[in-house]
């Protein structure tokens, strides 16, 4: 059963085809990693799938509904959530408030009760905060719940973004380099976290440069090069694919690696 299916996605910026004819699909509980050298179009592909860019061609289906060209907040309402490579946290809000915003779609949000702070608003606030604290505990940030997010260390912000994305209770989670800039211990924690999320039935699409992490947790891997799909398969298939080695290391490097 497929939950997210992207077919023949393409986008051009000026004359540059940043993404060109890429297709992939992912099922609940599965981890699909998208790898490729810098500039291969991984983040661009994420931006298209999450509705931030409009693709010039191709279609995206989310749970059998055509969601091509839907705006990000409408995709979020249909169960798609994501994190960003360059951190996009709400700097001036506390860690807890960041996650509470992640609950936005689960909250009733009418203006008049908010202006007069009816008891139902207060009650809902309490529930949302409790849910947010649970998630912060889940990613190991409970101690800094009331610290402004702007003053948290980098690794904590990465996990905060994951907690915020999870707060929306997504069916599909796109993670853009969640382990970038993290040390070995932090990477280990994130590895563990992603596996847990997938085990709860969320379809995870991962862009990541840390090959150890990718090879370890991915069910399938899609390799991009210069916007085009290069290879797809299990971690083992991809690792042994000479074309993939060539893309990463060049022809000479690939020959060396084959001999090694």
């Amino acid at each position: 059963m497929t939950i997210l299916k992207a077919t023949d996605i393409g986008i051009s910026f000026g004359g540059v085809k940043a993404v060109d004819g890429v297709s992939f699909s992912v099922s609940p509980g599965q981890i699909l990693s998208i790898i490729g050298p810098n500039g291969a179009g991984k983040t661009t592909l994420f931006n298209i799938v999450s509705g931030i860019y409009a693709a010039s061609r191709g279609t995206i289906h989310l749970a059998d509904e055509n969601v091509t060209d839907l705006s990000p907040h409408k995709l979020a309402a249909r169960g798609l959530s994501r994190t960003f490579q360059n951190l996009q946290i709400f700097q001036r809000m506390t860690a807890c408030e960041n996650v509470m915003v992640g609950r936005h779609l689960r909250e009733k949000c009418s203006l008049l009760p908010a202006l007069f702070r009816t008891p139902s608003v207060t009650r809902q606030n309490r529930e949302t905060r409790a849910a947010a604290l649970d998630l912060l505990a889940y990613v190991g940030l409970k101690d800094v719940a009331d610290v402004p997010a702007g003053s948290l260390p980098y690794g904590a912000c990465k996990r905060l973004e994951i907690a915020r994305a999870l707060a929306a209770e997504p069916r599909v989670l796109l993670l853009d380099e969640p382990a970038a800039g993290c040390n070995a211990v932090e990477t280990e924690e994130i590895d563990h976290l992603i596996r847990q999320v997938a085990d709860r039935g969320v379809a995870v699409v991962l862009v990541e440069h840390d090959m150890k992490l990718v090879m370890k947790i991915s069910d399938r891997i899609l390799v991009l090069e210069r916007g085009r799909p290069l290879a797809e398969g299990t971690p083992r298939e991809v690792r042994d694919n000479p074309k993939v080695l060539e893309a990463y290391l060049g022809q000479h490097g690939a020959r060396e690696a084959a001999r090694a």
């Binding site: 907040h73 996009q88 709400f90 936005h104 949000c109 915020r164």
Partner: protein, 315 residues
């Protein structure tokens, strides 16, 4: 959570005490008038601060809504025979509708482009008021009928001190309420990162529009109050300089701080009165004081001072 609730209560209580105690130290009715001006400006600034400080969208034409409120209570009773109190509500509704209609297209703009678009809105508002002299008295302005509530004629600077003070309390209460709600959080979220707000499901366009409408209604009610209080209104109240004054109050007091808007209004309304002793140097000094305080209190008076206080308390 409990702390926040208390903080909200504390701010309201302190404001109520200030409003209640000031009359004991005021030597003349002139002081009541100046204080009422502070309350009215603060009310408009609190609204604008929801748009600018919370949702992070600038408006350089906000006096247009102030003008709509003011002229509604002038024109309604005089030309159309509408009761004054109803004219106030109609003005607020008109402002909300106008903000909604104009906000939809222009809130797609960002930063300085939005500033210019709202500036255009403000200039247009003042222009309409000046040229439609049959209705508005043109550049000379027009008198405003006294407000009558249940047969009680609301007049005199002493009375208006209490009425505007009460309005400010309500306005402060509502603004503080908003902060810790899904709506308030959505405002602050889209301020910090629009794209991140979108991907967690915040309909950014809708919330910008809400902030704009809220700010417009605040401005309109403040405008109506000033018109009633003065018994007279002229197009300057809807003009560009007044828009700039409101933005200055918000930034000087502190973006995003409700108390900041009240303090900013107090400074910007009373300072020119205090500086009149310097006669022709008045504006020079006013400008200088604003520049210096912005250099040394970059985040605005209230956030800067409270930051300083917290640092002191920790060390």
């Amino acid at each position: 959570m409990g702390a926040l609730l208390n903080q909200r209560f504390l701010i309201l209580a302190m404001l109520a005490v200030v409003i209640a105690v000031l009359p004991f130290v005021f030597p003349s009715s002139y002081y009541f008038r100046v204080a009422s001006l502070v309350w009215v400006s603060a009310l408009a600034a609190i609204g604008l601060n929801i748009l600018m400080g919370q949702a992070g969208q600038v408006s350089l034409g906000h006096a247009a809504f102030f003008g709509i409120g003011a002229y509604s209570v002038a024109i309604g009773p005089t030309h159309l025979g509408i009761p004054s109190w109803a004219a106030l509500l109609i003005g607020a509704a008109l402002s909300a509708v106008l903000a909604y209609l104009v906000g939809r297209p222009i809130l797609r703009l960002k930063g300085q482009y939005l500033a210019i678009a709202t500036l255009g809105l403000g200039v247009r508002g003042a222009l309409v008021i000046s040229t439609e002299s049959g209705w508005t008295g043109g550049p000379d302005g027009m008198p405003v009928e006294r407000l009558t509530l249940f047969g009680w004629r609301v007049s005199g600077s002493y009375t208006w001190y209490w009425v505007t003070g009460a309005l400010l309390l309500v306005g402060t209460w509502i603004a503080l309420n908003l902060d810790e709600t899904p709506t308030g959080r959505a405002f602050r979220a889209l301020h910090d990162s629009e794209v991140a707000a979108q991907v967690v499901g915040v309909d950014v366009a809708r919330f910008k529009l809400q902030a704009f409408v809220i700010a417009a209604v605040y401005g309109s009610i403040a405008g109506s109050a000033l018109a009633f209080m003065n018994g007279f209104i002229n197009p300057d109240q809807a003009g560009f300089l007044h828009s700039v004054e409101l933005v200055t109050i918000v930034v000087l007091g502190g973006l995003g701080s409700v108390v900041g808007s009240i303090v900013g209004a107090a400074v910007l309304v009373t300072l020119p009165q205090a500086l009149t002793v310097f006669q022709e140097y008045e504006h020079l000094l006013l400008g200088l004081i604003i520049i210096v305080s912005m250099i040394f209190m970059r985040n605005g008076i209230v956030p800067s001072l409270s930051g300083l206080f917290h640092r002191k308390a920790r060390t």
